[in-house]
């Protein structure tokens, strides 16, 4: 359940080594079966991504004549998507929305997580429970009321309307995850700061914040991905193509009868790239945050 750190010391599988030395026929079969399983797994896992990237570079992807390797490698799909397809605008919109979301939800989540991790107060457990439960609310169920609410605020078709909604969505998980990071900072460090005469605010800036920074980065990446990938609200709130985010903008390349797969895949590649980079950077923290971090008291 908790992080795999203590087990890592003997992770070099002592079980396999004695098997390998004698290389009995049975051991060789097991090894071959394992190699086959790994190969099959990698093909299954990576193929869709490979197909997307290869389609993006294939001049003939849209005509259905694509083979396993791009037959005519080209940048043409990317050029079309960015120039004529207006994908540059969508990318810009998505970056703005995602960065504002990260900034706002990072600040709010940090303050709230300090409160629940460091202070004992009435209703603390009740608030933690509420945050946990609220994470489970299907956002799809809130489209209708939020649509009405954002419309009343005159924020339909504006990027700010999306930002407000995304901040709310990434907040519960952010608080939940940062709570673990704040709790991990030894209280003695804080006390030392007080003894040196620091005020609470000074202690927060100079002691707590630098130590929680890695957690803040992980949380920010998570809210970035949330905002970047979100589809249903972007679809509902925006009806002017100038304000589309990338997830919705992709639909532009679907024709009435024929789908321009080369363009769709070029756009998809542009969307996926930043997410993959960020994701791989924080995946360890993300998966442990979902499970282990949530369990720690």
């Amino acid at each position: 359940m908790s992080a795999p750190a203590p087990t890592r010391s003997r992770a070099s599988t002592p079980e396999v080594i004695p098997q390998r030395r004698p290389r009995s026929p049975r051991a060789r079969w097991i090894l071959a079966a394992k190699a086959l399983a790994v190969a099959a797994l990698l093909v299954f896992t990576l193929f869709p991504t490979y197909w997307m990237v290869s389609g993006a570079f294939d001049a003939r992807a849209s005509s259905g004549a694509q083979s396993l390797l791009p037959s005519e490698p080209t940048w043409e799909n990317f050029r079309y998507v960015l120039d004529e397809g207006g994908f540059g605008t969508f990318l810009k919109n998505s970056v703005i929305v995602a960065l504002l979301t990260v900034l706002a939800s990072g600040i709010l989540a940090l303050l709230a997580s300090v409160a629940v991790a460091r202070f004992k107060f009435k209703f603390r457990t009740a608030i933690l429970m509420m945050i946990l439960i609220i994470q489970m609310v299907p956002l799809e169920a809130l489209v209708i009321p939020l649509f009405v609410q954002v419309r009343d605020l005159q924020l339909l078709n504006s990027l700010l309307g999306l930002v407000i909604v995304y901040v709310a969505f990434s907040l519960p998980f952010g608080i939940w995850m940062l709570r673990g990071f704040v709790a991990a900072v030894p209280e003695e460090l804080e006390e030392a700061a007080y003894i040196d005469g620091a005020s609470w605010g000074r202690m927060f800036w100079s002691v707590l914040l630098p130590l929680v920074a890695p957690g803040l980065v992980a949380t920010s990446v998570f809210s970035f991905i949330t905002a970047w990938n979100e589809f249903i609200f972007a679809l509902t709130f925006m009806d002017n193509a100038d304000n589309y985010t990338v997830a919705v903008g992709l639909q532009q390349f679907f024709g009435e009868n024929s789908n321009q797969w080369g363009y769709v895949m070029a756009g998809s590649t542009l969307i996926t790239l930043p997410v993959m980079i960020f994701f791989i950077l924080v995946q360890r923290r993300l998966s442990s945050g979902l499970v282990a971090g949530a369990v720690k008291g």
């Binding site: 079980e15 394992k34 197909w51 009435k122 609310v137 799809e140 939020l146 797969w261 791989i280």
Partner: protein
Amino acid sequence: MSAPPTDLAPPRNTRGGVSPRTKRKLTMSTARPWLLLAPALLVLAVLLLWPLLRVVLFSLQDYGLREIVSGRSNYIGFDNYAEIFADPMLWQVVLPNTVGFAIVAVGGTVVFGTLVALLLASLSRGWRTVVSSCIMVAWAMPAVTGTYVWIWLFDADRGLINGILLGTGIIDDPQNWFTDRWSFYAIVVLNIVHHGFPFVAITVLAGLLGVSKEMIEAATVDGAGAFRRFFQIIFPTLRPVFAVVIILSTIWDFKVFAQIYLMPGGSGSNRSVLNLGVWSYVESFAQNRYGLGSAIAVLLTLLLLVVSVLYVRTLFKEEK
């Protein structure tokens, strides 16, 4: 918010407050957590709790285009719910699509993810790192773009799958995989399992590495086969891990939206593939029946609430 200032706050809260102004310090330190929480709670209340209440209110109204423009309410009691429950769509199409799909997808994701975790655990450390990093790629793929790739693969005219099947002579004419409810959902399951198994694999792997090697060796010496070792040692030890993984996957799979909505026919034109989430959306934003759509959304929320309560109870049982 304004806690009694004269109260004897526990010593933890005073935080170096051993000053002559103890009384004021105490007030400050009781107020501080609330000050820190206030902005976040405000956002959550306005943007999650209030809409949650509002969707229930909408579901009790005949809320159409007129009401949405004027903002006036139009209560009709439980008529929307009566209409939904009387609609054969719910029982024959939407509920089976939602629940049946969730069961198959969760089962597929968890079983496949566990098998991958077992495979990873048996690899040497170097290979384990390489393979688990590759798996991450599938997890990192955004739902929208991943769905488009699957649509393309199964596209009737230009898809790879049809190309292969035609080329090898298994089928004679291009097959449209998206019109039939079963093949439609088979593709959705493939999409969801592909996207969801890495989380299961990585989480279960972390647990597997913590299972005592001695116990497994002892069982092997005693002649227990791989199956018995898994079900009698590994599974019971990892029970809490499996509980969390299964419940989280269930929550995610109950509310899939983009993966269905984006598929050909998935946005309402093929009514036999609707699930609760898409049905609610289509009734609201395509038919302008926001009241009915809200009632469906409430139904989905209640279903998920049951699963969530299970989740929270598992987590807190863990903590003890």
